[in-house]
Symmetry: C2
Subunit: 318 residues, 2 copies
């Protein structure tokens, strides 16, 4: 048989997506399981194996799998371990690449989930011909993958690219998981947008808003988006504010690595220009003249679930 | 003749230092001229030539010069041009590498001055065996050189590594040259320390301070340093504050590229632990646990003038 395949696995905070990818970057089969149902990582791997092997059999068996690529939060490319991931059940240092290699009998490479998404973008997405770009995932949290000279930046210890945790409002909003104040993630994530909404409607009890038709528990970034589309001033202000913080942070990132493009991924990007316009405005305002009007600020063209699996599988061909 | 030499030229905002360096990284001859006495860059190059050629003759003539390396503000490694440098007299885009190549008949390579310093550190200084580090020059301004995988980060357009202009206090102190508010440089430079001193003694007319023995015009980062050494509380507070801002910024940089070390250069480092201790404290406080107590925060061991010339000359051997 000529055609060969890779397995791509993306471990998210809630869901683990996986699939079989051919060498043209097409996902042949895919499925998902919850990330946190199994208390022990060994049981998680058993479940993954049980769901993946029928797919593997369809493409002619494990001999046709060149390798397994995996993205996970706090995944370390140097050691193949997941280290102290706050959103996963398995605590401490988990040698997941080794465990999967043993179970499947196929070499497994691991990287950070956001770096995997950047790999996917570079191999199959809108940055195919770029050597310098940054991907920012605006989901429950804020992830990032940095590409310099065509390579993912992993740094000295394998954990580079935690841009969501950089401080943009010193002394600002408390981030519940990290205990740090004023990080990008505490504002420019789905969670952050929800918090901004609650702060704004609480601070201005006199201002009318469609958001007041929802209970505090019902308010999400999606609710805010819907209200903004209907012209609600507070909802629009929320995106303005989110875009301001994001834009200021992006300006800082541009002055660090001078990318050709910044690619935005994730749930929050559904807000489209509501988010993109203020982000671009505040990014440009905070750039030195040397950098102004040069950096492409774009949305990923890959489907989010595809990007994760493709990116993880890209580790195999790399 | 076996031994070969490089010329290193460092164009600073005030002074241009230059010298002849052998292939062991020893500066054989060196001298300096003012950077801004000549209105036209051609006259500057004539002056440089007149001062360098007697040195070149001492090592057996231009045939023994392998190349010329040059660091300059806003120097672009891709094009060999200095572009819109705010602190230099020559405006617009100056093709200085070409002009020097023609004048001397020797290939000339140009890069950003801060990147040249990082090259010097990597080849001859305290980061000789490191592949991931950041150098920060705390002088009149704040310069930076970023090394990832053993290579200086220049980015898509050659201007990466402007960390002094990243925003750490949004809406904060106005930077006179750039018009931007709250950048690292507006606080953690010699100029910034002077401004903090003036702000603090003006805001607290009731607090005694040795700094009040100086006129506003006399106050410099050096004055503040001397007063702090004598136990002056306001002077010590100034270094605390400067270290806080610098430390917060360094934490952000660490979460970007995960360096093994951050090397501090420049006049402000004369303050030693007065600056280093609060900087380290606030850097560590703002790091994710993943990065804590891992990054070496050190002062350069190279003499500042040597680092600049050595760094520029290193471009030749690179």
């Amino acid at each position: 048989m000529e055609s060969k395949y890779a397995i791509g696995i993306d471990v998210g905070g809630t869901t683990t997506k996986f699939g079989i990818v051919n060498n043209k970057g097409e996902i042949i089969e895919q499925d998902r399981i919850p990330s946190n149902d199994c208390e022990f990582v060994e049981d998680f791997i058993e479940l993954l194996y049980a769901r993946l092997m029928p797919m593997v059999d369809k493409i002619g068996g494990i001999k046709n799998i060149v390798g397994i690529g995996m993205g996970a939060p706090n995944g370390n490319v140097y050691t193949g371990t997941i280290e102290y991931a706050p959103n996963l059940k398995w605590k401490g240092i988990i040698p997941i690449a080794d465990l999967i290699t043993k179970k499947f009998g196929v070499a497994t490479k691991l990287t950070n989930d956001a770096n995997a998404a950047a790999m996917g973008e570079m191999m199959y997405g809108c940055t195919k011909n770029m050597k310098h770009f940054i991907t920012i995932t605006l989901g429950t949290g804020v992830g990032s993958g940095i590409v310099i000279d065509g390579k993912i930046v992993v740094g000295h210890d394998g954990f580079a690219g935690e841009l969501g945790h950089t401080i943009i409002r010193p002394g600002g909003r408390m981030h519940k998981n990290t205990g740090m104040r004023g990080s990008l993630e505490s504002y420019a994530s789905a969670t952050g947008v929800r918090e901004t909404a609650i702060e704004l409607i609480t601070a201005h009890p006199d201002r009318a808003s469609l958001l007041r038709d929802f209970s505090i528990n019902e308010i999400t970034s999606e609710t805010v988006h819907q209200c903004a589309l209907q012209g609600d001033p507070i909802a629009n202000e929320i995106f303005e504010f989110t875009g301001q913080i994001l834009g200021e942070s992006l300006a800082n990132f541009v002055m660090f690595s001078s990318p050709e493009a910044i690619v935005l991924f994730g749930g929050l990007t559904k807000a489209g220009n509501l988010l993109l316009n203020p982000t671009r405005k505040h990014m440009e305002e905070n750039l030195l003249p040397l950098f102004k009007n040069k950096v492409k600020l774009i949305f990923s063209e890959l489907k989010e679930s595809d990007a994760a699996i493709l990116g993880a599988s890209a580790l195999v061909w790399d």
